[in-house]
Point group: C2
Chain length 216, copies 2
């Protein structure tokens, strides 16, 4: 175990803020980019189904196209790596079967031994498809991923700016996802804060703990 | 800065799994419960608006009522602390004003100096209310919170089991939230894995990184 102290955890979570201005000259070392990708892959999801895909944009030519479809916010072009978090469209029972194959392989068991779980998860997904909420469910899972991504980045000393207000359809276009099974729902710029970002030193605004947390 | 290495981060994220069986004799030390509450409070949210509240259930009498409304899963009664994550219902422009007051106080500036931000965030929320998606948006924010909670717990060496499949309306009833402005949307059991939980040592099942992550 490589667990850390609560003091260290909270220091890093307080250090984190939504960066307004990145230092465009600073790039995340490739070992840390790879670790952030791993943290995305390791994100927990409902039934373990991982209804997602993550695009890590480092090409400056692509990044330069993004502010115009992100309400003119500069972070996607000035950051080191821009992440576009996508759901898998038309998630269905075939995807559950694909996951069960993966689960069987990683546990070294037969697919048949997982029939119960397959039926349970498959029934859930089939219901989501027929009732029309499956993409809401997939989107929820992607929000777990951005939560884990932001805390992972903070712990590694990497800055981030979550970007919910992006023109997702246009991101699909720029990334060539139109007509594919993936659809961007969220963005997250990663890199290093500029020394000029005055927001870096401002106090965090949080409602008092006693209003937000209640013990029972 | 108390940043950690990517090796330590990934070791803890790999150590994490969705606990099936908690050791009901082991309780989370109060300093760590408090740190997990702080990590919830520190969760990033859209516009910083924090449309949520978190209930930390330690009373065994309440916990014992939860498996019956959690598809008979035993984790809520056997864990050390059960978290119920709630959205604030009827989130509206008055909540934005409340946040702007909090923001002004924490930054030591006047509310008037934040008029622009207030108008922007208020317009967003007003649109969500009139178009009927505000509770979806609030729910999305709560998923960020459970993402940060699970990674924080893993880093502190505390086990967790996220519980999406709970009967949320019944949780409201048990917690006395009916008729209040809060509505439970998710649960997360926290504590320590039982030595008998055979899932603890199973390999994680994740789709291959090259299928889930794509560089551009």
């Amino acid at each position: 175990m490589a667990k850390i102290s609560s003091t260290d955890l909270l220091e890093q979570l307080k250090w984190r803020y939504a960066v307004k201005e990145f230092d465009s000259t600073k790039k995340i070392p490739s070992e840390l980019v790879s670790a952030l990708e791993d943290s995305l892959v390791l994100t927990p999801s409902s039934f373990g189904l991982q209804p997602w895909k993550f695009f890590i944009i480092e090409d400056q030519g692509i990044k330069d196209q993004l502010p115009a479809i992100s309400w003119n916010q500069p972070q996607p072009k000035d950051c080191s790596h821009m992440v576009a978090l996508a759901i898998k469209r038309n998630f269905a029972e075939a995807d559950v079967a694909r996951f069960i194959d993966c689960l069987a392989a990683s546990r070294g068991v037969t697919v048949e031994s997982l029939e119960g779980y397959k039926g349970f998860a498959g029934g859930f997904v089939a219901q989501g498809v027929s009732e029309g909420w499956i993409e809401h469910w997939s989107t929820h899972q992607v929000y777990i991923a951005i939560g884990q991504l932001m805390s992972s980045a903070a712990l590694l000393g990497i800055d981030a700016c979550p970007m919910e207000g992006i023109q997702a359809d246009k991101y699909d276009e720029v990334l060539g996802l139109d007509g594919t099974e993936y659809h961007v729902v969220l963005g997250c710029a990663l890199g290093y804060r500029s020394e000029n970002d005055k927001y870096a030193t401002m106090n965090k605004a949080r409602f008092p703990k006693e209003e937000i947390v209640e013990r029972r």
